[in-house]
């Protein structure tokens, strides 16, 4: 997901080696962070950004206007990985950029997800002046560089953000022609960018906006095929972009499929926190993928993951076998594990685990050879 850092030249590698050996690397990192925090290295490998402004869009959605340390090149519709320290723990989440490309500032628009650690932290603890890490923009949910034909945007809830970036981009390029936008929300107060959308609808002659609100009397709740086709009878002939909750997008897709227009529809999957992977009881066989050697082994039987891996013929680095020396530490990229000391279950991605005090509760992906 994050862009891998480009291969360094031999010269810069030698320089880094010498700096590290002379213990100057971390002094450089420290002083950069003190004196020019936006230019300090970010864990995501791209850049850092200062929060320049915060806009309360709806009761549970905020836009964070960010000033990156260096210009961010992206296309409307792409997303970035945002790195934030949540109560001292670095965490990453992907957010669509809601701004139009080309400016000095970029913005992300974040809905507060109940129990979402990152979104809750951003809402409650991140103020103007805070510094966040940004990954390289990525994603292929983008407008064609040359927009000619009629367009259709379909969005639900906070799925509006990448489409807003596209609309702003079109306006900026003077290319906003024949666009129909159908947006689904719970109520008028929950429409993110509601005023800007209304303004567009008023000022752009070829822009049509349909808001479908759950609280309208007599209206169907959420997506409804009959209503949709009535609103946009020519939907199948438009280049369509949709982003919203999975079930809504599935139904739009079925509609396009039935009309033989599946090729016209582009879909952005919501980047949500990973779901819990199917769980097995401890000891049941699970597949452990060793990412560094691109192999998979079956771990089964009693004991910790370390013991299971050893039984499967693996020889992971280890020391004390009781959780104190951290020699067997590795990164779990996905899967559910239990910490044997605390009994805590966790499905968090990119989590540090110690093999000797971990039990697998699902298939796992480990950053091991």
């Amino acid at each position: 997901m994050f862009s891998k850092t480009t291969t360094a030249s031999p010269l810069s590698k030698a320089r880094d080696h010498v700096l590290r050996r002379l213990m100057l690397d971390r002094q450089v990192a420290f002083w950069t962070n003190e004196l020019a925090p936006l230019h300090a290295q970010s864990g995501t490998g791209s850049c850092r950004a200062r929060v320049g402004a915060i806009i309360q869009e709806t009761p549970d959605t905020k836009t964070f206007v960010l000033q990156p340390g260096r210009a961010l090149t992206y296309r409307a519709g792409q997303y970035v990985s945002v790195e934030v320290e949540v109560n001292g723990v670095r965490m990453h989440r992907c957010y669509s950029l809601s701004s139009a490309p080309g400016g000095d500032e970029v913005s992300i628009t974040v809905k507060r997800v109940p129990d979402g650690r990152v979104s809750t932290w951003l809402h409650d603890h991140v103020d103007v002046g805070a510094i966040l890490g940004l990954g390289a923009p990525s994603g292929d949910f983008v407008l064609p560089t040359d927009v000619t034909g009629p367009l259709l945007f379909v969005s639900g809830g906070s799925g509006i953000t990448p489409l807003m970036s596209m609309a702003r981009d079109l306006v900026q390029r003077g290319a906003l022609r024949d666009v129909v936008w159908v947006h689904y929300a719970r109520s008028a107060a929950d429409v993110i960018f509601g005023r800007e959308l209304a303004h567009l609808a008023r000022t752009q002659p070829d822009f049509r906006l349909h808001l479908c609100l759950d609280d309208e009397p007599g209206a169907p709740r959420g997506f409804d095929e009959a209503r949709f086709t009535a609103l946009v009878p020519d939907y199948a002939s438009r280049a369509a972009f949709q982003c919203g909750p999975g079930p809504m997008m599935d139904r739009v897709e079925q509609l396009f499929d039935a009309a033989g227009a599946a090729g016209h529809l582009k879909r952005e999957a919501f980047v949500a926190a990973p779901a819990h992977t199917p769980s097995v009881s401890p000891g049941e066989p699970v597949q452990v993928t060793l990412l560094r050697s691109e192999r998979a082994v079956i771990a089964r039987g009693p004991g910790s993951l370390l013991e299971q891996l050893e039984r499967a013929g693996e020889r992971p680095a280890h020391g004390c076998r009781v959780g104190i020396c951290h020699t067997c530490r590795c990164t779990k990229q996905s899967g559910t594990v239990e910490n044997l000391l605390s009994g805590e279950l966790s499905s968090a991605p990119d989590q540090e685990i110690q093999l000797c005090i971990t039990r697998a509760h699902s298939d796992l992906k480990l950053d091991l050879a």
Binding site: R90, V322, H326
Partner: protein, 383 residues
Amino acid sequence: MTRPSRTLSREEADAFGRELDALRQEVVADLGERDLRHIREVIRVANLSEVTGRVLLHVGFGPLSFVGGVSALALAKILDNMEIGHNVMHGQYDWTRDPALDSHAYEWDTVCTSEDWRHSHNYEHHTFTNILGKDRDVGYGFLRVTPEQPWEPRHITQPVGAALLALLFQWGVGAHDLRIPDVIEGKEPFLPFAKRALPFVQKAGWQLAKDYVLYPALALGNAPRVAFGNLLANGARNLWTFAVIFCGHFPEGVRVYTEDEVANESRGQWYVRQLNGSANIEGSTAMHVLTGHLSHQIEHHLFPDIPAARYPEMAPRVRELCERYGQTYNTGSFPKQLGSVARRLLRLSLPGPAVAPRAATQVAEAAAQATTARAPQRAPLAA
């Protein structure tokens, strides 16, 4: 002398362990921004101190700026080695996922490689703490620090040996994981040893080049002053870390264990051994930070991967538990503990004293228990 700890049955030790586990979980659940702020503040002071020290040595003149420069640089090195390096490398801040605080990536400003340290210290010393024949930190292979070690004529010179080790402590620490005596005794052939030793030799070379060639060269005419200042700063750091570390396991009252005693040890019994094998130093907050909180050696050995700045608040709870379970909580002022170590090193350079019968009965008790309650080999997790 403090009264020795009561021998705990396996069940009692496990109950004791469960209470410590609960305390551990309580602190783990509470880790957060405050811990990160603390370590970043220490890193800040260390960096400011290093720059101050180097500037005073490089462009200053006269004895006052020299003393100031050496002190500031020594402070930077002490903070880097103790509160930052030692603790970060224990994995105390791995939960933050900050690459600058990654236990497997941190390299400290001393000749010991972090890789060797994580093996000899985090694994060997913290797992096999005070087990004769397994924990090579008991006397570092040449000192007699407990009467249980058999006396040999070479121990007569150990006061001098210990003093030399104090002055050159970073070299002792750096060479520790290389197990040089094994090579001298012919237990390991030279070539594999040389291969193992290469990273240490490389790091030592860079460290010497940094402090005695590069920085002096940058100071031009002030080169001798800078080289000498760096030598004194390294030396001061050596003396301080030696003193702190020797107070951790060698004062009077600290116990050693035999391999038989710890056979089939449970997690609770592991806790009991860590407690009885360690000693604290009392002091101010600043003193605790300067020792990397190794002044809370007991809490450190019970919870080696909990951020060390948490030890002072955990200590009263540990102490209360010790009282309830009849365990001695070995603590004292720095002069008291250091004096105790010095007296011990002197006394044990001579033969004797006879080993107290306490240890002998405990060996017998442990052996009897081991036969009645055979626990699985990896009992610590089963508990």
